[in-house]
Amino acid sequence: MILAATSSSINVTMGEVAATLVLVALAAAVSLWERADLERDIGIAVLRSFLQLTAIGYVINAIFDQDSLVFVFALIAVMVVFGAFTARGRARSVPGSFMPLLIALSIAAVSTLGLVVVLGIFEPKPRFLVPVGGMVVGNAMTAAAVSLNRLGDEVRSGAGRIEATLALGATVRQAMLPTLRRSLRSGMIPLIDSTKTTGVIFFPGTMVGMLLAGADPVDAVRLQLILLWTLLGSVSLSALTATGLAYRHFFTSAHQLKDL
């Protein structure tokens, strides 16, 4: 069990949190100066992040106090449903995308968390499963949304080629294979690229958090690697499932491309 031990913790005061609003003000000033018209969005983003993270902080605290996996599953189920709703908003060009997204995020969450427990990487405790589950669902959501967004664009722009392939007697899957591959790549490439450049161009969040909390850098690096590699598995499952289920919604049972 690599991560059974508890790491050190730090106390962050509300005053310190409030002090970072100076940097938010800097962002707003840049927006005003350059007339980027983003001040309102910045304000909403700051407010929402404060409210959402504070709320989830209390929820996580309660789940940790209960120390029951039932609450962990309930929280992850809620995240999956909200994630599917959010991703559907970005994949509007794909008809009936909600169910594929819901299934994709569920498979990504369950299989990834199941594997990290079975492989003995994390203990099956709320303290580990809640944060890892949150990262898995969040990244799986982004990958699925990007993949489906690309899928919708590709089907529209490539309708002529897809129909020309169907006209040769190809099945929908045969006609869609090149499109599915490109869509899958779109969903996976951002995480693959950030995994490639981690430690060189940027320090990922978990590692930064652990270093700030006073952890040994070696432990921070190992945990970061575990999370990055776990996320690679989950985003691939999510993008594969979402595109694999959603593309059929563009077609009839007679292998005809529907009017888009």
Binding site: G160, E163, T165, A167, L168, G169, Q256
Partner: protein
Amino acid sequence: MILPDLTISLPSGASCVAGPSGSGKSTLLRLLNRLVDPDSGTVRYRGRDVCEYDPLELRREVCLVPQLPALLPGSVADNVLFGVGLAGRDADVARMLELAGLDPSFAERDAAQLSVGEQQRVMLARALALEPDVLLLDEPTSALDEEATTAVEETLRRLQHEVSASFVLVTHDLDQAARLATWVVRLEKGGDLVGQGPVGELLRR
């Protein structure tokens, strides 16, 4: 609504569906090989409702060459063999290219690097590789210049003698219809039927 109250028949041999843009010519071809189904009415092939056929089998038998080239990434040979490969068969690429009016040396060229006219011929070659009973050609010369149009028409006339397939050609050009078909269906904008019959008789009217 497209093609309302339309009753037409297309005999074996070389037929042409002629009409202006918006008359539903391309839709008619797509109905014939079930790329779309009618909201109402029936499309029959050899006396049987096309909806009773397996759509994949029907499309190999009644094969459509779309108006605009839409080749797959890869070589010309990859494209020619794609459709026939799906059916679990093989084809003589050089022969198919010759039938479509291309030199066999085109086989290894990158399909994406060809001119529109050459791509159109590769589309024709890959349809011919399926040895269809009916070849549906959607305005095969609409994207070509005069010289290429003449060459494609010559290829199509030659093909009518060299392969046993029937042809249904869609065009907005009545002169082209007269040059390439023996039977003509004339549509007007909105999909109403102007007339149908032997080409000489109908186009003289």
